[in-house]
């Protein structure tokens, strides 16, 4: 997504505004999308997927074929203060739904602004379960960290792994929570945690942690981290470079071409994911449609996840039978087994972090991703946020 495209789409949106002002009804969705900074790699694809599916729906008459959507998109530069400002501006411009940046912190900040009017607020891909605790109007869209942790722990135990070493960073809810949820579920299933190391985001060097892992007694048979780029590449290079061949497992952030492009060192790494485009699936169909329309293939789940937000909003509006913010929020919270492309979703009975399938995938020696399994977290072993 370039700034020019953003400019064009916002211009198009404001032209649509003048055109639609006369029309009876439209649904206005405000989108926070960081064009620069640490969130840009997630917000960019998520917004592209979201807008693509909104455009498809509008071409067919809008949400549920009857309610045209107008989007207001504003850049936050990954800055929370800027995010708060643009959310307020979007509300002033009549936004009835806010899609917030792909992380817990900006989403929590946005949700505090939207709370007064109960405007439903959904994060692009924030996965920390705490984010929905701001209020009844806040929703996640991606399978939460505790679901991912529980599914991965179950898989690890099924493979016979018994001793885990956790590598986590207290600097973000994701990098801290993922391994902790994994550890809790792993212990509940009879495994043990043999050691833990903390790192800092963007830590220059992981050799000291690797040496500590090598010295751990007893030795782990699996190492789990929710580290992302560039920390994960640095960690795995240091680990394999030191001759440690222990199985490594990680969170859904590892589902990127960059990680798969690291070569030999990532061969066999297992990670969770929000979805997998199996042949004939709705996801594969989405990729084909998107590629045909945009000229490039979506290379990560955030595109599909963005599109699914459009699907969730459509189903919530249909269930509410109105566009009243509180009614839409209540209807969203009551959806059970709603249809979406990455996987179906259930908000009913959850803390508004949807219960969705978690995929476990493995990176192959030639840098491809192979499907391992698809499962929903078992509520019995799923750690509470």
């Amino acid at each position: 997504m370039t700034l020019r495209k953003l400019f064009l789409s916002t211009t198009a949106a404001s032209l649509a505004l003048t055109a639609a002002a006369a029309s009876a009804e439209e649904y206005v969705i405000g989108v926070m999308s960081a064009q620069s900074g640490y969130l840009a790699p997630y917000d960019g694809p998520a917004y592209a997927g979201f807008q693509f599916c909104i455009d498809e729906k509008n071409a067919n008459g809008g949400l549920n074929g009857t309610l045209p959507v107008r989007t207001i998109v504003k850049d936050t530069r990954s800055d929370i203060a800027e995010g708060v400002k643009v959310v307020q501006e979007m509300l002033d411009e009549g936004a009835q739904f806010i899609v917030s940046s792909a992380d817990a912190d900006p989403t929590i900040a946005a949700a505090q602004i939207t709370m007064a009017d109960g405007i439903p607020t959904m994060t692009f891909a924030g996965t920390a379960p705490v984010l929905t605790q701001v209020g009844e109007h806040v929703f996640g869209s991606y399978p939460a960290d505790n679901q991912q942790g529980a599914v991965l722990a179950q898989y690890a135990r099924d493979q016979g792994f018994e001793r885990v070493y956790l590598v986590k960073s207290p600097d973000s809810a994701y990098t801290l929570g993922g391994p902790e949820y994994f550890g809790a579920a792993f212990e509940a299933l009879g495994g043990t945690i043999v050691g833990t190391s903390n790192y800092s985001l963007n830590q220059p060097d992981f050799s000291a942690i690797v040496t500590t892992i090598k010295a751990a007694d007893p030795q782990p048979d699996v190492i789990v981290t929710w580290a992302w780029e560039p920390d994960f590449p640095a960690f795995i290079k240091a680990l394999r470079g030191a001759g440690v061949t222990t199985q490594v497992m990680g969170g859904d952030v590892l589902d990127t071409p960059t990680v798969r492009g690291l070569g030999e060192v990532v061969s066999g790494v297992v990670h969770t994911s929000g979805g997998f485009p199996e042949e004939g699936s709705a996801y594969a169909d989405f990729i084909a449609r998107f590629t045909a329309a945009k000229g490039f293939a979506p290379d990560n789940n955030y595109y599909a996840s963005g599109c699914d937000i459009a699907n969730m909003i459509e189903q919530a509006v249909a269930a509410a039978g109105s566009t009243d913010p509180r009614a839409v929020a209540a209807a969203m919270a009551g959806i059970e087994n709603g249809t979406a492309i990455m996987s179906n979703f259930t908000f009913k009975g959850t803390d508004r972090m949807p219960l969705r399938d978690v995929v476990v995938a493995r990176i192959t020696a030639d840098g491809q991703k192979e499907f391992v399994l698809r499962a929903q977290a078992d509520p019995a072993t799923m750690p509470k946020p």
Partner: protein, 295 residues
């Protein structure tokens, strides 16, 4: 015992990178008074040079050479386009100029290449291990140490034994006097930038070989540590920059390795606290520049 040996190798390996970056900063600072905040972006550019040459199918050794060359070219280009125009300006103005240059480069990397990290895949055979008395030592950290020491020794030789090095040492003390002797200052300054770019390029090679990816912020974090090293060593002191680079690398590895987990969030604070304590003890740095009172 093995643990200590391995952590010591980790410390020297990390310290070597910091030392090279700090030395590059100190060379430029000592001659033109510029605290070059864009130094990290020069290193990042070297990383992208490696990435792009691998993407275009160059063999790994050629790609690493191109990466080093890219960093040198970038350092020279910045000197010519941005910093030469500001020659002789106040140190604060120079610092702000380098901030601006750094921001511009980051945005260019982000929009021109990718906001996300891009992978650098070097042959697996390069990341093997070997045994010393029961301890398993990685090839990459060992090579890093050798390369860092080789570079530092090479640079010392250039500064001590060549005419250009002599001119650079003289320029560090009194650039105007050097010009009054008829030596062309622009050439000496350009060589200083080229050498700092060379060191940043070598650091980029070691860094990407160890970390496997390049992103727009790649150079920022290690260069931040290198800045601290230049201050700890004594601003403008080349030997001090190298020594302090190793000290900071060692402190980082040792705090990571031996602090209890509950204290680990305070690791950077502890390292910086020790640096501040050292500066209170020796306000001019560990090895102050010989010409600290230069007029």
């Amino acid at each position: 015992m093995d643990l200590i040996l391995q952590q010591t190798i980790n410390a020297i390996s990390l310290g070597g990178v910091y030392a090279m970056l700090a030395l590059g900063l100190a060379i430029v600072f000592s001659i033109v008074g510029l605290i070059n905040f864009a130094h990290g972006d020069i290193m990042t550019f070297g990383g992208y040079g490696i990435f792009l040459s691998l993407a275009f199918g160059f063999p790994p050794v050629a790609a690493l050479t191109i990466g080093i060359g890219a960093a040198v070219v970038m350092a020279l280009a910045l000197e010519r386009t941005a910093f030469r125009a500001m020659r002789g300006a106040d140190v604060v103005i120079l610092l702000i100029t380098s901030f601006a240059v750094s921001e511009i480069l980051k945005v260019l990397f982000q929009n021109g290449i990718s906001a996300r990290p891009v992978p650098i895949s070097l042959p697996a055979s390069w990341s093997g291990t070997y045994q010393i008395g029961g301890a398993t030592i990685g090839v990459v950290p060992t090579v890093s140490i050798l390369v860092a020491f080789g570079s530092l020794a090479g640079l010392t030789w250039v500064l001590r034994r060549t005419a250009t090095g002599m001119a650079m040492r003289a320029a560090a003390q009194d650039l105007e006097m050097l010009r009054l002797l008829g030596v062309r200052a622009n050439r000496v300054v350009a060589v200083a930038f080229a050498l700092s770019g060379l060191l940043a390029g070598i650091a980029a090679v070691i860094w990407t070989a160890q970390r496997g990816s390049v992103d727009p912020m790649m150079g920022f974090f290690p260069v931040l540590k290198a800045f601290i090293a230049t201050v700890l060593g004594g601003l403008g002191s080349l030997g001090g920059a190298v020594l302090a680079g190793f000290v900071i690398g060692a402190l980082e590895v040792m705090t990571q390795a031996f602090l209890p987990d509950s204290l680990s969030p305070y690791r950077d604070a502890i390292v910086l606290g020790l640096v501040i304590a050292a500066l209170l003890w020796r306000p001019d740095g560990l090895l102050p520049a010989a010409n600290a009172n230069r007029s």
